[in-house]
Symmetry: C2
């Protein structure tokens, strides 16, 4: 396989974009990425999206977006793996360039959720879980995560308040990210007082949905001179679709497997990762991700957060631009946002969020309740 | 890129499978493919599906199916490009093996449409077209094809009855295919008397939907000894999503482009293709495909059919197992069915439908009204 470099990035602010359509949002991110690297064409388009069939009554998004941006006749396809659709698209674009099939790949993750009433979004999000054994029993996606969080608290002894530092860190980092959905300082007090959604998950444990798009341009690394941001690890793994089918539901085995594979591809270990854009859709997922990826011992995720190790310039900065919790979670776009943010850090263009040490970054995107997990590691060769 | 071989195939009969769920249908095709080649594991799963978000309230199909078949922890993703989702999945599996990322790829196309009421299916199928400029104006997918057919008849002078040979050939070929939806001889009389759906498209111009799945196992060609069925061309191209945005709507430029690219990859020309599994979702698409792929002159598709050149063992046999018209069109699965049928012919296992000359076969899958077209060429090295 050829080495692959990311040369262009673009993103839109995540918010309720009532005045823009799905393609306009996608186009905004794409044109930003194209301008960022100055290319004049693309050879393949890879779209990450979860919900357009229902939320926008539009499928065939590869064509739809390719047509809108004027990339005439280019091959285009949509990738879907629920909330990890964005990094599934990135991985497809990466493999297309790595294989030699495509010279310039455009990856875009887009989600336009405010076309749908909220009740539909809840049932649409639940299509990530098992229709047969979870959703038909009335479980929503939040409820599934609430069960996991309750079980984890039971097993480890951590209390609800111990998850506060994950959300506080995310909100602190989002303050200076102009693309983030929330610019709101979060205190422990506010966290504790937030309204309950599904016990023990309250509003400050859950990430907000939103409309947004992020885009990345990939090319063979040997076409780039000077600083090169290379994709050095790309791995995906699955688990049972229903969480109750797992012997050990509080261990994200797909996160462990995909991160181990990505470490091996990159010739790295968890200690080498400078920062981690994790999938904090819920605070419980933040804790489970840190543990399964080998950044701490089992059951010790909340301790890492409590001791400040996840903060800016600490041992393992996470959610450095706000994470899903505060940057926002436009589901099928999230995976691309995460990688865009890794690239911002590796380039040294993360503004006030810039880390001192940012040579190797990892992004991990979770589809379903831990059922389809994709890990990417990127590296700056400077 | 490594050369890639198809070593296992499986398919289910296409019908209304009220007693089986989506995963059971997919599993049936997958286990047939696994048995066919005797592998004991797969490394990557690529699912082609268009409608499960609405028809089955289930997304994350990569995980869902991987879990069902017991392929623990394997990477899995769904590909969607409307009615060409099946060959989009095949192409993704092909690239994953070609790149060296995956050793054994499982490609499965599946659609389970009888969970939904018919009216919903009509609106779900329309998500392949432009929601902004076609569907919002009340166009269904049949109506779109009716406009194209009417325009073509106006431009070329062919009459409705001149399209009969396409459907008669498809039905004749389906008679001996046990997996086909219809086993019903079609005469010109029956064709002419069929009920009108959307003038000039009548029931015998349109392909039937249905439930079904088809699966293929791909491996590096150098792992196979003896007869090898190689994928020698794989190309995709797009056009505007709305048919009215094309300068020349009766010319399938995406079919021309993707077939030309596939010919070039394979070092072949149209004259070298022994048979063609085309996308005869409507008879007009049959005519347009033959022309755009260079098998006849523009406007001469119906003449090829009238003169019998598309029949078994004639100049260019098409729809050799019944085509979309009579084998059936379970939308996201169709592209995989087409390639399974190419492989049956190349292997010499097409039963009573076996062609005398079947060394090089081509399959072409159309998403949207000609907006996302994927062409594959396979070759038997015997």
């Amino acid at each position: 396989m050829r080495a692959v470099a990311a040369i262009g990035i673009g993103q839109t602010k995540i918010e309720e974009q009532w005045d823009k359509s799905l393609k306009e949002i996608a186009g905004e991110a794409i044109f930003a990425a194209v301008q960022d690297c100055g290319i004049d064409h693309v050879d393949g388009v890879f779209v990450g999206n979860m919900m357009s069939a229902s939320a926008n009554k539009q499928q065939n998004l590869g064509t739809y977006i390719t047509d809108w941006i004027g990339a005439k006749h280019v091959s285009a396809v949509r990738l879907e793996s629920a909330c990890s659709s964005g990094s599934a698209a990135f991985r497809a674009g990466f493999l297309a360039v790595a294989s030699g099939e495509v010279e310039i790949a455009l990856v875009v993750g887009v989600e336009k959720m405010t076309d749908s009433p909220t009740a539909e979004i809840t049932s649409d999000l639940a299509t990530a879980a098992s229709a047969d054994w979870e959703v038909d029993q009335g479980l929503s996606f939040v409820a599934l995560n609430a069960l996991l969080m309750r079980r984890y608290m039971h097993e480890t002894g951590w209390q609800h308040k111990d998850f506060a530092p994950f959300s506080i860190n995310a909100h602190a980092n989002a303050m200076q990210n102009p693309f983030a959905r929330f610019h709101m300082e979060l205190t422990e007090q506010k966290y504790l007082e937030a309204g309950m959604i599904c016990d023990p998950i309250n509003l400050m444990d859950a990430s907000p949905i939103g409309d947004g798009a992020a885009a990345i341009i990939l090319v063979p690394a040997d076409k780039v001179s000077g600083r090169v941001i290379r994709v050095v690890g790309s791995a995906a793994a699955t688990d049972t679709i229903a969480a109750h089918d797992r012997k050990d539901p509080t261990w994200l085995s797909a996160a462990e497997r995909s991160s181990k594979k990505a470490y091996a591809q990159a010739g790295l270990s968890p200690q080498d990762i400078d920062f981690f854009e994790y999938h904090d859709a819920f605070t419980i997922m933040a804790a489970l991700s840190l543990e399964a990826c080998g950044f701490t011992e089992r059951g010790e995720g909340p301790r890492m957060a409590a001791e400040g190790e996840i903060r800016k310039n600490a041992r393992l900065p996470v959610a450095t631009m706000g994470g899903l919790k505060a940057r926002g979670h436009p589901v099928g776009a999230t995976g691309v946002y995460q990688i865009v943010e890794v690239i911002q850090q590796l380039r040294g263009t993360a503004g006030k969020n810039q880390l001192e040490k940012a040579r190797i970054g990892m992004a991990q995107n979770i589809g379903g309740s831990g059922s389809n997990i994709i890990t990417h590691i990127l590296r700056n060769n400077d």
